[in-house]
Amino acid sequence: MSTSEKHNEKELLQRIAEGDEQIFARFFKEKSPLIQHWIRSLVKDETGCHEVLQDVFIQIWVYRDKLATVDNLIPWLKKVTTHQCFKHLTRWKTYYSRSGGDIAFHSDDLSSDSRVDDHLSFKEMQSIIQGVINTLTPQQKQIYQLSREDGLNSEQIASRLHLSRGHVRNTISIILALIRTHLLRTGKITFIGWLIFLK
């Protein structure tokens, strides 16, 4: 990767860290073919691959405030991907081992079961996050809502609420850290060590 490309990527990650959904969509469009390719080598059914892909991007999203500090994006993405694949195989091991050697792509049986399960797991994650949001102070809640509902970046939020930009950023970081703590406890996401950020 050239220096300018690297610079571009840094800026992109910086904007995602700010909660910019448009830029995150661009990142998704750019990275999902590679990540999907990775997942396909580790998980052998198409529905499962989709689930893992979704979980990988959820994890990236809830770590977004840390993205700007990621120097080496690829190893970071690999770690998230392998974690989510392992989690998926663990969850479905009974099914997979029962179907033995005939693990078929596009297995209808698995896909219908799996969707229900996936739906529940997603709902669970949403409710965990909602639970965290419910415990926030009124100001934290207001900042979070402006960020996630109205899509404002920290500068816009700061000027609207007459706060410093640093304070807004910090607040969002704290909220995301709270969310991660709760998700980590349930195994929904994996802890990404600082080593990878600092590499």
């Binding site: 073919p33 590679l34 392998t82 909602q130 639970g131 996630r148």
Partner: protein, 382 residues
């Protein structure tokens, strides 16, 4: 298992080169929490970094949309409103419940043979039932009885009619008044018509003690827990309710609810119709008297919330988690344990009390309550 073998299996699975036996070993022996790190390490080496030629799949946009949904603050979610069958069909339907218990037991047993899994975790909601203690101290379990005479008590005939207990004067009263006590355990509720025609709905984990025939200058009963009264008018013989030996409610003819569970801090008397005096203080319809040490009159309590239990509902609106959980404990006969303090939440909506515990927990989970159920213990996590 040797590390080399684990690595071989991880790689083999990725390359689709494992035979059936190896696949079994892979899932049974390798995909285990203890191998997680090794798995991630080996798997990472298998991921090629070469630019992928596949173009972006436009069908993935809904998936991306879902990712963004995960941490969007929820639009207030409406709890499913279900009309409790009791509300709709009245207590006649409750009688059907009693008749069906035998039948239900049969189906449950039959079901057990077919699908043992279905029975494993299901905690059913409370139902009609109570224990009647007669004057001589003997006890009758009312859950399992059909319509008919239950006992004769000093001139009164005690009968079960359509799921409620009634007292009819049939003979002469002799000597002292004798008392009966009806108790509902956790997970049961019952309805009784007292000798004067007064109707009492008894919520779970409650009791009422009353004479089998009201003689003398007043009609006096004692209650614990929660009960709703529709008192028959009789100005010559005032009706008096003694609550937890602490509060005295004096009634002419009226409808009111008493909530006096030992683990609720305040004894609440809510008046729907007529007028009552609570420890000497008069309250009007729509008002609630709260007694802790002295009487405090609340002008506009949420009547729907107060009466929800009688209408077969859990009422979340403006309730704290602790309040809801105390009802859940009594209704499902479970114990609630807070692992790390009681989470502060406000709730809204209402739902039928007719759902199984699982059904209720699913709704609470949607509302952001985290829990773990072990047997009949419900652990609430922060």
């Amino acid at each position: 298992m040797e590390k080399e073998e684990i690595i071989y299996l991880i790689k083999g699975y990725a390359n689709n080169s494992l035979n059936e036996a190896e696949l079994q070993t892979f899932f049974n022996e390798v995909i285990k929490e203890e191998n997680k790190e090794l798995y991630q390490e080996v798997a990472a080496t298998l991921l090629e970094e070469a630019p992928v030629l596949d173009s972006f799949d436009e069908k993935l946009w809904p998936l991306f949309e879902r990712v963004l949904q995960v941490d969007r603050p929820a639009i207030k979610e409406e709890v499913p409103k279900v009309n409790h069958f009791l509300r709709k069909w009245g207590w006649a339907a409750a009688a059907a419940v009693i008749f069906c218990i035998g039948l239900g037991a049969y189906f449950l047993t039959a079901n057990r043979n077919i699908a043992p899994v279905a029975l494993k975790t299901e905690i059913t909601p409370g139902k009609n039932g109570a224990i009647l203690m007669l004057a001589d101290g003997s006890k009758v379990v009312l859950d399992s009885l059909g319509n008919g005479i239950v006992a004769s008590q000093n001139g009164a005939q005690v009968a079960l009619k359509n799921g409620e207990l009634t007292y009819d004067q049939v003979g002469n009263v002799s000597g002292e008044m004798v008392y009966n006590t009806m108790t509902t355990p956790k997970g049961r509720e019952f309805r009784i018509t007292l000798p004067d025609g007064t109707q009492v709905w008894l919520n779970s984990a409650s009791s009422i003690r009353y004479p089998t025939i009201f003689t003398g200058a007043e009609r006096k009963v004692e209650v614990n827990g929660e009960a709703y009264f529709e008192v028959t008018k009789n100005e010559k013989q005032p009706f008096r309710v003694i609550v937890n030996n602490r509060v005295e409610i004096e009634v002419l003819g009226t409808h009111f609810n008493v909530n006096a569970y030992r683990n609720e801090e305040i004894i609440k008397t809510t008046l729907l119709e007529g007028s009552v005096r609570v420890n000497g203080i008069v309250i009007r319809p729509g008002q609630q008297a709260q007694v802790a040490e002295s009487v405090y009159v609340v002008s506009n309590p949420d009547i729907d919330k107060v009466m929800a239990w009688k209408n077969g509902l859990f009422y979340f609106e403006g309730s704290t988690l602790a309040e809801i959980m105390r009802q859940v404990e009594r209704w499902y006969d479970i114990e609630v344990v807070y692992e790390n303090g009681i989470p502060v939440r406000e709730f809204e909506g209402k739902m039928t009390r007719g759902v199984s515990l699982d059904g209720l927990l699913m709704v609470l989970q949607k509302l952001g309550v985290h829990y773990r159920l072990e047997g009949r213990k419900l652990f609430i996590m922060p």
